[in-house]
Each structure stands twice: as C-alpha cells, then as structure tokens.
C-alpha cells in the first residue's frame, strides 16, 4: 500500500513583506527580543547542591527533569514547523515569523536547563519506561502543522495560546514552594517565557478573528478538543493527568519531588491550577464565539 503523503503548500515568495503590519504582534516580537537569557550564566548553578541530597530525592528529581525534557524536546520541531507554515501561507505578516524564531531559542534554553538539572541529580534518562507513555509524547505535530489540511490559525489558538498557557501555569506553580535558588530561578525563567509565548498566541488569534467564519470557529473548537484530550489532560504536560498505569513512575517522582521541595507541586494543587486555568480558557473562548470543550477535572 502506498504511504499517504503530507500535502505541503508551495511557497509564493514575493512580495516579501517585512514592514510592520500588526502593531500588537510587532510589540510581542520586540518584547521577546528583549527577554533573552543565558542558561549558563543566568541560573546560580553553584547553589543547586544536588549531591548533598538523599538518594531517593535525587532519583525522583532526575526522572522529573528528564520527563520535562521529553516534552520540551517536541518544540525543536514544532516551532520551526509553525514558522515554515506561516511562510508558506501567502500574505502573512512578518512579526509572528520573527517572534517564533526568538521563541524557539528560548525553548532551546529550556531544554538545556532541563538537561543540566537531570544530569545534576544523577543523570538524564533518555526515554520513559512505558512504551504507551512514549506514544503519548510522540505527537507528530510537525507533520500536522505542515499538512495543508490543518487549519493553522486554529492550531495556533489551541497550541500556541492554550497549550503553552497551561505550561506557564504549571511551571509557575512548580516554583512556588521551592527554596533552592537554582531551581526557583530556572522555573521562573521558563514560566515567564511561557507566559509571553502564550500571550503571543492569543494576540495572533485576536488579529485573525475578525476574518473567521463559522467553519473557522468549528475548526478551532475541534483543535482545542484535541489539545485538551491529547496533550493537556493526557499526561503529556504533567504525569498526574495520565491514565493509571501509563506514567506511574513519573507520577511518583513528581509527588516525591513536590514533597521534598525540588520543583514540583502536589497533585491537588496541580488539579486546582489546571481546572482554574481551563475554566478561564473556556470563558475567553465563549467571548470569541468559539464553542469551548467540556472537560472533566484532571
């Protein structure tokens, strides 16, 4: 049987519009450029003091940071795919494209930090113990983004605004009960980046929304349902949302790290934070005349 081929738009390069077209997105790009940081110099690594911890703490922390890297790694393909897709779509403004290049550098910094953390606690782990959990993490988003049948505006709303917003909420929460300066600095930097990235997603959609028809809104709804089901509530972002048996080791590691103050949060707190966030998202979507998905509390 012949493999189905991804349908990719053919670029019409000219005219190359590089002037400002959307003030809010230009502003987002300017802020993004000014927010750069350095994973080597801007985190007080000498204060991490991982070697002094009991073995059980170290084991939990190395799995927790490794798991976060497995999820963050997806951005090394996802963000360039969104960038390319916007370049293939004729007539899109330049600021979102420029913005995405900066965003991806910051995502690379996150990965570098997550790796350093995992290594400090005893060594990075290259894959989950469960093949089924690995399957949850293999989302194949680059393929979906570049496929011409995927509505890219809907994708950006669901993933760049809502999904990344959920990450911002979680990273912020993880930092609330941490006393170690290296961990709290790392989590704060990541959370702040994610907040700006999510804000960009909403700004992007706000610019597009006046041109949307009913079909565009339906497409957005469908993509949001997919993000809720396959990412936010699947265990991709946090293992406590995974089905029982899928990510038990990772879940136990997060629980232990939370109790030891190593950069996680209790499940009740995570549930409350995510439920609150998703309720806010629902309200915001209703205000945009987009049918929000129903969801059960994680």
């Amino acid at each position: 049987m012949t493999e189905p081929h991804t349908k990719i738009l053919v670029e019409q390069r000219f005219p190359v519009r590089l002037g400002q077209q959307v003030a809010s997105l230009e502003d987002a790009y300017r802020k993004e450029k000014g927010a750069h940081w350095n994973p080597v110099a801007d985190i007080p690594w000498d204060q991490l003091d991982a070697d002094s911890l009991p073995q059980r703490d170290r084991e939990a922390a190395r799995l927790m940071w490794s798991r976060r890297l497995w999820a963050a790694y997806g951005y090394l393909a996802e963000t360039p795919a969104v960038l390319i897709r916007l370049c293939l779509e004729f007539g899109r403004p330049i600021s979102p494209k420029f913005f995405l290049t900066v965003r991806n550098t910051q995502e690379a910094c996150h990965i570098d930090v997550l790796q350093k953390m995992a290594e400090a606690y005893g060594g990075y782990l290259p894959k989950p113990a469960s093949k089924n959990y690995a399957a949850i993490l293999n989302l194949d988003l680059a393929q979906r983004i570049l496929d011409a049948d995927t509505p890219i505006d809907a994708y950006i709303l669901a993933h760049c605004a809502i999904k990344i917003g959920a990450e911002a909420v979680l990273y912020e929460l993880y930092g609330t009960a941490v006393e170690n300066d290296a961990i709290s600095t790392a989590l704060a930097l990541i959370a702040e980046d994610k907040r700006r990235h999510a804000a960009f997603g909403w700004e992007f959609v706000a610019d597009r929304l006046p041109g949307w028809d009913a079909a565009d809104r339906e497409a957005a709804s469908a993509e949001i349902v997919r993000v809720f089901d396959e990412i936010i509530l699947s265990g991709y972002l946090t293992p406590f949302c995974a089905a029982p048996g899928l990510a038990d080791d990772e879940r136990a590691a997060e629980r232990h790290a939370a109790s030891a103050g190593l950069g996680s949060a209790g499940e009740a707190q995570q549930r409350q934070a995510l439920t609150g966030y998703l309720s806010e998202v629902r309200e915001r979507l209703l205000g945009m005349s987009i049918e929000p998905p129903e969801f059960a509390a994680p």
Partner: protein, 309 residues
C-alpha cells in the same frame, strides 16, 4: 487556489522521538549555541539609526542602496522560510540534540539579519518588497534547502555541506568583505553585525562535518560532493549572493549590477565584480581544499566572469 506539493517527505513516517539520546553530544556545537545565546543584539536598538546621514547621498545612490539592501533582506528571509526545515530533520532522525539547539539561535539570527537589512533599506528611503523587474526573481527566490531537508532521499550531511560549508561560507566572505569596504558607518555596522553571527553559522557546519564525514560511505560522500557542486554552480554562480555572478543577460540583471556599482561607489554596502571576484574565487578554492579532508573532491566550476575555478 494555492499550489500543493505531495512529494514524498520525511513527514510521511510517524515521529518516534525516543530514545532522546544526549550522550552523543558535539560539545563544540553546544558551545556555539551558548555563544549565540550570550551575544544577542537587536537591529532596532544596537545600530545608531538616527546617525545615518541620508542627506549626504544623491537620490540615485539611495535608490541603488534601497535595492541592494532589500535584495539582501529577501535572501535572509529565505533562510527563515527554508532552513528551519533542517531542525525538523534533526528531530526526525534523532540526531545529536546540540544540532537542534544551535539551529534555533541560527534561525533567530537569520531573522535578525532580515530585519537589519530591511531597516537599512528603510533608512535609505524605503524597503522594496519584490524585485522591480520580475524576471530577476528566479535568481534570488530559493536555494532549495527546504525541499532537500524534507526529502528522505537527501543525505543530511549533503544538505549541511551544501548550505553551510558552501553557501554560508560564501555569505560570510561576502559580509566580511562588505564590512571592510563599506564607508558609511551605519551600513558598515549592519554588515559587521551580520558577519559576527555568520562566523558561528560557518563553524557549525565544519564542526558537524568533521564528526560525520569519517562515518559516511563512498555513495554518501558522493552525494555530499554533488550537493555542494550544485549549490556552488547553480546557486552561487547564478547570482544568489552577488548579482554580477548572475548568468542571464536580462535587463533586470543588468540593472541590479548597476545598482550594486552605484551603492559601492557611495560606500553604502555593496560590491562590484572587479573587487569581489578574487574573494569569491578564493572562497571556492578554500571550500574545495577544506572538503578534501572529508574525502570529497569538488569538480572544477566554470563561469564566464570568473573563468574556471
């Protein structure tokens, strides 16, 4: 209706990201990523645009410079439209993670370069969104990197060698040369900023190929040779970076060469055949020599203006 390609691509097989192996690291490439993250600059804030003395130049000189810098902006834009596909390729093939990390900052720097070229064109009177004479579009529209990156039959190392060790090496030499000959301080600052970033881009390619070339078999090395030869003969020697190398004798090409001459004479950031030719020839010779270390032997290249290189 937009055109759609259904060519076979690396995206046709599902993602399998595990194991995400970081033990196979290329430390030199990771250090380039750190250097890029540390040495960021902002074209809007770090170039003293208010000191550009536009009144020193004639209308003709400013028009020529607008064309030169706009043309350069189109090329840099091509790097953000096409080269990020290489990141997808790195991830799909579970290559060393350092490559993906470095390429993020590389794409950001290409965006920065597009922005600084755009701003310089604006300073000269206004950025131009497309070649005034449409037949010139073919010379600058694409180097084919996105297609190569997504093509499962194209060896990744061939792509890196062609794009980075050949095209970017030529680009680096062009910008270094422009930094030396451009007299206008603002135009020179733009060229210097780009040159500083391009140093890392080129280093990436050579570091990576130094590791990978010994692991390639004869057929793969042949692909590397062929991809580099195509990039030099069909892209660079067709006017991609330097208009005087364009081989079509059209009104558009003649106009572009003339605008470059006027911009060069004004010191606003272009070069001309008689000044750049020895630099381009040296670039090609150096690339050929350095690739011999991989076991590659590039063919001789012919061009009516350079002779055989």
């Amino acid at each position: 209706m937009p055109q759609i390609s259904t060519a076979k691509t690396i995206l046709d097989t599902p993602e399998d990201r595990f194991p995400i192996d970081i033990s196979n690291s290329i430390r030199s490439v990771r250090d380039l990523f750190y250097a890029g993250a540390k040495n960021q600059w902002d074209p809007r804030n770090d170039i003293p645009w208010d000191q550009f003395e536009k009144s020193k130049y004639t209308e003709e000189q400013l028009w020529a410079a607008r064309n030169a810098w706009s043309r350069r902006a189109w090329l840099e834009y091509g790097a953000i439209s096409e080269s990020p596909a290489i990141q997808i390729r790195f991830a799909r093939e579970c290559r060393e993670m350092d490559l993906g990390l470095f390429f993020t900052i590389r794409s950001q720097e290409e965006a920065r370069h597009a922005e600084v070229c755009y701003l310089m064109a604006e300073a000269c009177g206004g950025y131009i969104e497309a070649p005034p004479l449409r037949e010139y579009e073919g010379n600058v529209v694409t180097h084919g990197v996105r297609k190569m990156a997504l093509d499962p039959d194209c060896v990744l190392e061939a792509l890196i060698a062609a794009l980075v060790c050949a095209a970017e090496e030529v680009a680096f030499d062009v910008f270094k040369h422009l930094s030396e000959i451009t007299t206008d301080p603002i135009a020179r600052a733009c060229s210097r900023g780009i040159t500083r970033d391009e140093v890392r881009h080129c280093a990436f390619g050579w570091y990576y190929m130094a590791k990978r070339a010994p692991l390639l078999d004869a057929a793969e090395l042949k692909q590397v040779e062929e991809a580099v030869a195509v990039m030099i003969q069909n892209v660079e020697m067709n006017g991609y970076h330097s208009s005087w190398l364009a081989q079509d004798d059209t009104e558009a090409t003649r106009a572009d060469i003339e605008w470059d001459r006027i911009t060069y004479d004004a010191g606003l950031g272009s070069t001309v055949e008689e000044v750049e030719k020895p630099i381009f020839i040296a670039s090609v010779q150096r690339i050929r020599e350095q690739m011999r270390a991989w076991g590659c032997e590039l063919p001789l290249f012919d061009h009516p203006r350079t002779g055989t290189i």
